[in-house]
């Protein structure tokens, strides 16, 4: 299956990409996608999106097909989906 992934902020920096088309396995979940991306982009990416136990960091925001997803649901990503990934950062 092919999906589109769009990166913002720090994630755009560590991937050196704004967006890409990505092949994923049928039935792949958000968490599996993030681990797959971490394999590609290494520790800087992994450190932003997951903790040391491999869980998705609470600060990560993921949108699927324009809707903010609840990470704790670990949603399955459908074929042709468009994902947007953004990590909120401290300061206010």
């Amino acid at each position: 299956m092919t999906i589109r992934v769009e990166y913002f902020g720090q994630l755009a920096t560590v991937t050196d990409k704004r967006e890409e088309l990505r092949e994923i396995a049928e039935g792949a979940t958000l968490r599996e996608l993030l681990h797959d991306l971490a394999d590609t982009y290494g520790r800087p990416f992994a450190a932003i999106v997951t903790d040391t136990d491999g869980n998705i960091r609470p600060s990560l925001l993921a949108l699927m097909n324009g809707a903010v997803v609840d990470k704790t649901d670990n949603p399955v990503i459908g074929d042709g989906s468009s994902l947007k990934l953004l990590s909120a950062i401290a300061g206010g």
Binding site: F8, G9, Q10, A12, T13, R57, P58, S59, L60, L61, L63, G66, A67, V68, V69, D70, K71, K84, L86, S87, A88, I89, A90, G91, G92
Partner: protein, 268 residues
């Protein structure tokens, strides 16, 4: 002749003078402003002039103050914002400054939620004053907003926001401003609102620490209803502080995004 007297269209005899207007409409006025400039002696009036009569220390009535404050707005803006309800999650650097901007706009109702109190370290960027140290932020901010505009509704809530209460506290808001300090809280607010009100606009901020160029702080539209202000890169951490200029720039981006949304303009 027709003039604007305290921003109300007023029909006057052709030979009326400035002090004649004062005697007729507000004899206790101790400040007379003609076309934007204070005047200290009587002067003739011409058709189309703008005259403002003020008694120092007196709070004008609702209609008069709204007309006077909205006189410098773009026409049509005041009517669109006066019935709006805006929620602000967090009353720190972002929330307090965004709230002040929204109050000056005349946004009809502002719901402010925060559990914290004003501390001295807040004063480098947050819209508080020394005599407010120790006061719950939302109460201090409500007091300040009412001093800016006594006729808007300010709804301060001393509550720590979490996943269980965001949606209910902001159920009545047309738009919510995410104004937290912590990264996890920012995401929590966005996710919590999206779960219950998926079409409700949320204007978050991320990346405003330090003293990098203010031009790097921009507003991005991430999706319908989700806007992010900031450079998305510069997080607050030891060695990179939070200071008034960039925090204020971000807060005013947020307020401007709120205004644009209230006016039906959905582009970032």
């Amino acid at each position: 002749m027709l003039i604007r007297l305290n921003e109300r269209e007023t029909d006057l005899p052709a030979d009326m003078t400035l002090y004649g207007i004062r005697a007729m409409y507000k004899s206790d006025a101790d400040l007379v402003i003609l076309n934007g400039a204070p005047v200290r002696e009587d002067a003739p009036i011409a058709d189309g002039d703008r005259v403002v009569l003020i008694k120092r220390g007196e709070i004008p009535g609702r209609d008069e103050l709204e007309a006077l404050m909205a006189a410098r707005h773009t026409p049509g803006v005041h009517e669109r914002v006066k019935n709006a309800v805006v929620g602000i999650a967090g009353a720190g650097g972002l929330g307090s400054n965004a709230a002040a901007a929204l109050a000056r706009l005349g946004v009809g109702t502002i719901i402010i939620v925060d559990f914290d109190v004003v501390e001295p370290s807040n004063l480098n960027r947050q819209h508080y004053f020394v005599d407010q140290i120790g006061t719950p932020k939302v109460l201090a901010l409500a007091d300040t907003l009412r001093r800016i505009h006594p006729y808007i509704n300010v709804d301060p809530r001393i509550v720590r926001l979490d996943r269980t209460n965001c949606a209910s506290l902001f159920a009545g808001a047309d738009i919510v401003v995410e104004a937290f300090d912590g990264a996890e809280a920012k995401s929590m607010l966005v996710e919590s609102m999206a779960a219950v009100f998926p079409k409700r606009p949320v204007v978050m901020a991320s990346g405003l620490a330090g003293h990098e160029s203010g031009n790097s702080i921009i507003t991005r539209k991430i999706s319908d209803g989700m806007y992010v202000v900031g450079d998305l890169v510069n997080e607050a951490r030891p060695g990179r502080g939070l200071m008034s200029p960039r925090v204020g720039i971000a807060a005013h981006h947020q307020a401007n995004t709120v205004l644009r949304l209230l006016l039906g303009e959905t582009a970032a």
